[in-house]
């Protein structure tokens, strides 16, 4: 299970980094979302991968699942969800006001014909 989780996190992060470096706003938004999923899984895994264990210490329990990373993940999810929403709105407003979804500083104006076909 460790290998599966670790490679999944690694792959998601790699795809996220690649997409964040793209020159258009939509891939950047998706890349950010993937990065935030990867980091959420990462925090979760840092509490150790434990199954079928109670999240609190009990006298009769043989082990426990660390509850703190779960609380941290919850906070991180809420924040990244809000941030992604804001980021989408910003990308949309930027596209509507400047007529281009490029974010690398090039091609600031799309020809009107291209704009109309969208």
């Amino acid at each position: 299970m460790e290998y599966l989780v670790a490679s999944a996190i690694g792959l998601t992060t790699a795809v996220g980094v690649y997409l964040v470096l793209r020159p258009h706003s939509f891939p950047v938004v998706i890349g950010m979302a993937l990065l935030s999923y990867a980091v959420n899984l990462f925090i979760f895994a840092m509490g150790r991968l434990v199954v079928h264990q109670p999240p609190v210490l009990q006298p009769e329990a043989t082990g426990y699942a660390d509850p703190l990373p779960q609380a941290l993940v919850l906070t991180a999810i809420v924040i990244s969800f809000g941030m992604t929403a804001l980021f989408v709105v910003l990308a949309m407003r930027g596209y509507l006001e400047s007529g281009s979804d490029r974010v690398d500083g090039r091609g600031r104006r799309t020809p009107p014909a291209v704009e109309e076909t969208r």
Partner: protein
């Protein structure tokens, strides 16, 4: 009583919510409430400063949960000084913004107070994860403030600003979870206790986490080569927002200082002095880039941005020394560069709105209205920022140079800091003569008439510049105070004992 410690976070949060829910359509009342709340925050910060001036570290346990488990806020000399600086800057900027900027978009004042909540929380928290949370509160509010007023150039710069900060937040979470995985705690005092006992086979993971954390703080502090976001973002932001953002880069420097002394200090075993080899060279590079930008800037606001970058370089040189005189000089320079830099951004805003279509470009334009007070203020601000005698920038620079003498990098610090100062002076003289002297006759019916309420805003800039004057007049007592703060910061055992050991019994949060 230590219940005061939570007020700089709770008050702005309550005020922001109240402004948003009750007064969202009534700008005039928003201004009154917002300005009153800012002055109240200033009074609270003064009280906290008085409380902290006895050199005792005071923890506050939210909900009376004991230290490693609950949310801990910690008031010591360092956090009290920075909260007071933030409150003073906030009061000035809110009054400036009430002179017209807050009417160019919605919700300026609520976002401003949410920003205050995040900034004060970041200074006061004693927990790395809550530092992340308060960073996010601050950043969300700063996105709103940066985009205030809208427009395509601002949106484009805003997208980049949000993207770099989201990436920074992701790295922050990676760093925090790596540190948690190794130590099992995120409370800073508890980390200071547990890190020296980390097993050698886990040290590499801890180093990775620690260095990632420093990278995140370096992004916030605009330390080269992670500084490229700053000039674009601050130049596109509205004047008052850029002025209040001057405190946000300082949070990065504060966080670097806090974790390098408390968590990765000399006692930290395998990770002792983790960031020390990187900060000073990077800060010298920042100085060079900042000075080059000041010289190359084509608008006053660009020059103000790169001057802010340059001042972050000087500040981080002092932080990078990581000894008593260095930290003391860094604190003095922090106060100076925040106030003087904010004044410069506000001046750029005032100049830009008076020059019609020329804005603040360094090009020939008709003479501006109120040229005399504005040019006098620019002269004072330029002297303060560039660090010429007699103002506080000069004293701050002398303190940094004096502190650097003992360092192995001393020669480099002297050469780069003094060399780039000369370049910055050249940049400012070029800007001043282009803006105020090289004028051409006004066109018939030209724009550039001053707005009615400019007197108040000029007054605010005057007060900020007056503060730098006071900083230099009272430099003696101030540096003695900062020396005491530096000694406190360099003795983390007091911090640890206050948070973990001296934890008072349950509901007694007051001493």
């Amino acid at each position: 009583m230590t219940g005061w410690i939570v007020l700089p976070i709770v008050l702005p949060a309550a005020v922001a919510a109240f402004l948003l829910l009750a007064l969202s359509r009534d700008l005039q009342r928003q201004r009154i409430v917002s300005a009153t709340a800012s002055l109240l925050l200033l009074a609270i910060a003064v009280h906290l400063q008085a409380l902290a001036s006895d050199g005792v570290t005071r923890p506050y346990f939210v909900g009376a949960w004991p230290a490693p488990f609950g949310i801990t806020l910690v008031l010591d000399g360092l956090s009290a000084t920075l909260v007071l600086l933030n409150a003073a800057l906030a009061a000035a900027v809110v009054i400036y913004a009430a002179g017209g900027w807050d009417a160019r978009g919605r919700h300026f004042h609520p976002m401003f107070h949410f920003l205050m909540m995040g900034v004060n929380g970041a200074f006061l928290t004693g927990d790395v994860f809550n530092l992340f949370v308060f960073f996010e509160v601050m950043l969300i509010a700063s996105y709103g403030l940066m985009l205030h007023g809208g427009g395509a150039p601002r949106l484009r710069a805003g997208f980049h600003y949000v993207a770099i900060n989201l990436t920074g937040s992701t790295l922050f979470l990676f760093a925090v979870s790596l540190i948690y995985a190794v130590t099992g705690t995120l409370n800073m005092a508890d980390l200071a206790v547990k890190i020296p006992a980390v097993r050698p086979e886990d040290a590499a993971l801890l180093r990775t986490g620690g260095l990632l954390l420093i990278v995140v703080f370096a992004i916030k502090a605009a330390l080269a080569p992670l500084h490229w976001w700053l000039p674009n973002a601050y130049a596109a932001a509205p004047g008052p927002s850029a002025a209040v953002f001057m405190i946000m880069t300082k949070i990065g420097a504060y966080a670097i200082l806090r974790v390098s002394t408390l968590i990765f200090g000399p006692e930290a075993g395998a990770v002792a002095g983790l960031a020390a080899p990187w900060i000073l060279p990077a800060a010298l590079l920042t100085l060079g880039i900042g000075a080059a930008g000041v010289l190359a800037g084509r608008r006053l606001v660009d020059i103000a941005c790169f001057a802010a970058l340059w001042s972050m370089g000087s500040l981080l040189v002092a932080v990078g020394l990581l000894d008593g005189p260095g930290i003391s000089a860094a604190l003095y320079y922090t106060v100076h560069s925040t106030l003087a830099g904010a004044a410069l951004f506000l001046l750029a805003d005032l100049v830009a709105e008076r020059r019609g279509r020329w804005r603040d470009r360094l090009a020939m334009a008709p003479p501006i209205a109120q040229a005399l007070p504005l040019s006098a203020m620019f002269f004072v601000a330029a002297i303060a920022v560039a660090g010429l005698p007699p103002l506080s920038g000069f004293l701050g620079k002398v303190l940094i140079l004096d502190a650097a003498r003992a360092s192995a990098w001393g020669v480099w610090v002297w050469a780069v800091l003094l060399g780039t100062s000369l370049v910055v002076i050249l940049g400012f003289s070029r800007a001043g003569s282009a803006l105020f002297w090289k004028t051409r006759p006004a066109e018939a019916g030209a724009a550039g008439a001053a707005e009615a309420r400019a007197g108040l805003r000029l007054g605010v800039v005057g007060v900020l510049l007056g503060a730098t004057l006071l900083l230099s007049v009272f430099a003696g007592p101030l540096t003695r105070g900062f020396d005491a703060v530096a000694a406190q910061v360099l003795a983390p055992s007091g911090y640890v004992a206050a948070v973990l050991g001296g934890a008072p019994a349950a509901p007694g949060m007051r001493r």
